[in-house]
């Protein structure tokens, strides 16, 4: 029922830093998440994109050094695609994702607190319906626990390098187009979204 105490402490420590960063990054706010989906506020994409490029470099380096292993979720097409549609509709209406709603609770947001109870209900529905859901999850095909480099027989560093270049390109294009933080600072007064 309980994992070892060192795992529990490590999990808590990682979570505290993650929650702190989500709150400082403004992504625990309804307006920022919905603003991203309305294509008006690019905070979510900037944060996630940077995390993915930086994270990929270190994690693939750790794997190369045999210091960690990959943990890939299987590409069960039914589960992933139907799950993604439910997730997308739910997240756009809710205005938080699972992690940022927990962080939103820490910020004091009442609708996020009610949503966390809703998430427990959603998880309970999933567990209760687990046997009945299996044909749906597995019925459309299973590509297995596969990565993009494995699927294309290429080096992961090619993909990571490509992602880094796309990110850098988007960053430079934003600066040059005059939508950078200098120009936008006036639009983001402190506490404007509180």
């Amino acid at each position: 029922m309980f994992e070892s105490p060192d795992k529990l402490v490590l999990g808590f420590l990682t979570g505290v830093i993650f929650g702190f960063l989500l709150q400082k990054g403004r992504v625990a706010k309804f307006e920022v998440i919905v603003g991203q989906f309305l294509l008006r506020d690019w905070t979510v994409v900037k944060t996630m994109g940077t995390a993915v490029v930086v994270g990929a470099i270190g994690v693939y380096a750790l794997v190369a050094a045999d210091a960690a292993s990959l943990h890939i979720r299987p590409a069960l097409l039914g589960g992933v695609l139907i799950g993604a549609v439910c997730f997308g509709v739910g997240m756009a209406v809710f205005g938080y994702c699972p992690g940022t709603s927990v962080a939103g609770c820490g910020e004091g947001r009442r609708d996020a607190m009610v949503g966390v109870v809703g998430m427990l209900a959603g998880a309970a529905a999933f567990v209760a319906a687990y046997p009945a859901l299996q044909p749906l999850i597995k019925g459309m095909g299973d590509w297995g626990k596969i990565t993009l480099p494995e699927a294309t027989h290429t080096s992961p560093w090619l993909w990571i390098g490509g992602l880094a270049l796309v990110g850098l390109g988007a960053f430079i294009a934003e600066r040059l187009s005059g939508h950078g933080p200098q120009q936008r600072r006036g639009r983001l007064p402190h506490g404007a979204h509180a």
């Binding site: 999990g11 989500l22 309804f30 309305l38 993604a84 997308g88 998430m119 529905a125 960053f171």
Partner: protein
């Protein structure tokens, strides 16, 4: 120079880079990808087991998870979620960014100030979101960050479809006009 811990906002690039480094830390220390929704699934499964006799025997979920070596438990993932709450509380407290908001202004501008309406919508949409996350075995963290940085096919598929659907949903809900309020 101002103490960064009491500042309300950090640059998304700084926050993103630090989340990336944090994922190195999670892989290196616990050999785990950062993810949120597994803990919710485990909580629901453990509660079901505690509340309903024979639930474990009747539902093949428990046998299937045991075979995967991923039986529901209070573990690293569970403490991660607790930590996220504490970390956000700390950050918001230090910077005075705490709120008691019930209805976000953007929501109110489109659907009115009713608390009941917002809370019912939040409950149902969050339930649907979690249901979808468990169907796909990941969320914005588990697939969107941890999975995509491992270059997983399932994760790039999930986040492209999920964000595509979310964009269509948000534009249908608020329209171009609603977008002016952001």
């Amino acid at each position: 120079m101002a103490n960064p811990f009491v500042q309300r906002y950090w640059s998304p690039y700084i926050v993103g880079a630090l989340i990336g480094v944090l994922s190195w830390f999670a892989f290196a220390t616990a050999d785990k990808p950062i993810g949120i929704t597994t803990a919710f699934e485990h909580t629901a499964a453990l509660s079901g087991k505690a509340a309903v006799p024979q639930f474990e025997q009747k539902n093949e979920y428990f046998a299937a998870k045991q075979a995967e070596g991923n039986s529901p438990k209070i573990g690293w993932e569970w403490m991660l979620v607790v930590g996220v709450f504490v970390g956000a509380l700390l950050s918001a407290g230090l910077s005075g960014d705490r709120t008691r908001l019930w209805v976000p202004p953007l929501w109110a501008s489109r659907f009115g100030p009713s608390k009941a309406k917002r809370l019912i919508a939040a409950f149902l949409s969050a339930a649907l979101m979690m249901f979808g996350a468990r169907l796909a075995q990941g969320c914005t963290s588990g697939h969107g960050i941890s999975g995509t940085l491992q270059l997983a096919v399932s994760s790039w598929m999930f986040i492209s479809v999920a964000f595509g659907v979310a964009i269509v949903t948000a534009l249908l809900m608020y329209g171009r006009q609603g977008a002016e309020h952001v």
